[in-house]
Amino acid sequence: MNRGLYVLFRKELADHFRSKRFMIIMLIVAATCLAGVYSAGLGIRGAVAKDTGEFVFLRLFTSSGGSLPSFATFISFLGPLVGLSMGFDAINGERNGRTLSRLLAQPIHRDAVINAKFLAGLSILTLMILTLCLAVAGFGIILTGIPPTWEEVARMLIFMVLTIVYIALWLAVSQLFSLLFRQTATSALACIALWLFFVVFVSLFAGIIADGLYPVTDQSPADTVVKNYNLKHNLNRLSPTLLYDEAVVTMLNPGIRSLGLVLTSQVEGAIPGTLPFGQSLLLVWPHVTGMIAATMICFAISYVCFMKQEIRA
C-alpha cells in the first residue's frame, strides 16, 4: 500500500539532490553561516581569554563577531528561503509539466503525492540543518579548543529541532501556494512576498497598531507603556520569524530568564544565574507548539485542497 509513497519519496529526494536550485541555496546558506561562525569564533577566542564565561560553545551560534551577523540570525533570515525554494513549484510544476495526470493514473493513493513531497522536503532540510550545525560545532571546537558540555549539546539539539520546524513551516506554506496558484512564478512571488512581510513588515505594522491604540509619550503612565509593549510584542509573535528568534535565543542563551517585558518589581530579590535546561525548554514550549501547529494547519489545508482539486488542467 505504501509502495507509491516510498517510490515517490525516493524520486523527490533524487530530484532535490540533483536540482541546481537546491545546490545554489545550499551553497548560499552554508557560505554565509560558516562565515558568521568564523568571525564569531575569532571574537570568542579573545573573550574566553579574558573571562571564564559559561556556555562558550553556544556562543558560536549566537554571538556576532565583527561585521557579520550570527549563525542563528542568518538561519532565521535565510531558512525561510530554503523552505520556500523547495516547495513553491511542488504541485503546479507537475501540473504545468503535464505529468500530474500521468502520475495519478498509476495505482497510487492520491495523497501519496503530496505526502511524499512534504516528507522529502522535510528529510532534505533535516539533513541540511544537521550537516550545518555539526559542521559549525566541529569548526567551533577547532577554533576555540573548548569541548561542549552535555547541556550545551542538548541545547544545540533543541536548536536544530526548532530550526527544522521553522523551515518546515515555510515548506508547508510554499506547498500550499503551489496548489493555490497555477503558475510557478506566481506562487514563487507570493512566497517571497509573505516571507518579506513576516521578516520585515510585521514589526512595522505591529508598532503602528500598538502606538495607535496605546499612544506612548514621555508622560504616559506605566500601565499604557506596558499595554503598548505587550500588544506590539504579541502582534509580532504572529510572525513565525519572531517566534523562532525568541525560542532560539532562549535555548542558546541560558542567561535569558523570561521573554518580554520585566518590571523592576519582578526582578527584585532574584538571584542572578542561568536557567537550567528544562526551564529554558518550558519557556519556549509555546513557541515550538505554535510553529508545529502552524505547519500542520498549512499542510492540512494543502492536503484537503489537493484531494478536492480537479486533475485536469
Binding site: K11, G97, R102, A105, P107
Partner: protein, 315 residues
Amino acid sequence: MAGDIIIRTENLTKCYGDFKAVDELNLAIRKGEVFGLLGPNGAGKTTTILMLLGLTEPTRGRAWINGHDCTRNPLVVKSFVSYLPDNVGFYEDLTGRENLRFTGRLNGLEGEALEERIDFLARRVGLSGAIDNQVGTYSRGMRQRLGIADILVKDPQVVILDEPTLGIDPQGIEELLQLIKELSVTDGRTVVISSHLLHQMQKICDRVGIFVQGRLLASGPLDSLWEQVSGQQGQLLELAVEPDNPQLREILGRLPDVEEIQQEQALYILKLKKDIRRELAGVLAKQGYTVLHLRMRQGDLDDIYRLYFQQEGVA
C-alpha cells in the same frame, strides 16, 4: 475473448455547477475491441475518462471496469488500466528510461525484470536509440511513442488514450495508429480512444460512440451507426454544379424523388427518397450544367458527425 463487456457505465453524470459535462452516460465496451469516443472539444470525453479512472468523482451514476467500481476501487482499476493523457508530459530532465523506470516502480516492478521490460518496450515503439537521452530533447512524436511505452509498462488489460494523435505529423500518425491497432490485435488489450479526428478513428476503431454536449448520441460499429442515423433521415446527396444560378433550384425541385433542398455554402444538399444520381446527372447535363461534385452522404464519420450536429443545431 470479444463479446464480454469489460467497461460499463450506468447513468454516469458529472456536473460542474449548472453545467453538465457528462449527462446520463450508459456505455458498454467489449473486451478486446478498439472503441472510439468521438466528439468535438468540450463534449465530455476527457471527463468521462477521468471518471473511469476514479480521478474525478461522478455526480451521479456508476462505472465499472472488469467488475470493479471505478469510484470506490480506483487503485485496483488503475492497476490494470493505463491512461495516456492528451499532450502527455514527462520529467524533462530525466531520460526516457528513467521516466519509464519511475512508472514501473510505481506499479511494483523492480530491478532486472523492469529493465528488460523497458528495453522491450523501447524496441517496440521504436525508441531503442533514444531511450537513454533526456526527454527534453525528444520531438513531439517521440514523446507520444514514449507515452505508449509508458502505458504499457504495467502490461494493462485496458488502455485509454486521450487524443493520442494531436499535433503529430501525418507520417507519425500512421505509425502511431498502427501501434495502437497492434495493442488490440496482437496483445488482445481493450483500447478506448477519444478523439475528434474522424478519419483516423475510422481506420482503427471497431466501434465508436458519438459524444455531443455530454451525451452519447449513438454508438455501434461504423456501418450500423449510419443506418441508425439515416433511418429517419432519408438519403442526403451533396451536389455542386456550374453555373450556380437561381433556375437550378427550380430544376431540382421538379425532380420527383427530392424531398427537400438545402444549401451549405457552395453545396446543395438534397434529401432524397432513393438514389437518383444517374437521372440527376442526365437532367443536369441536358440543361447545360457541369457537375463539379456529386456524392451520397453515408458511412463516413464526417457525415454522421455533421448530421448529428445539424440535429442538435450545434454546428
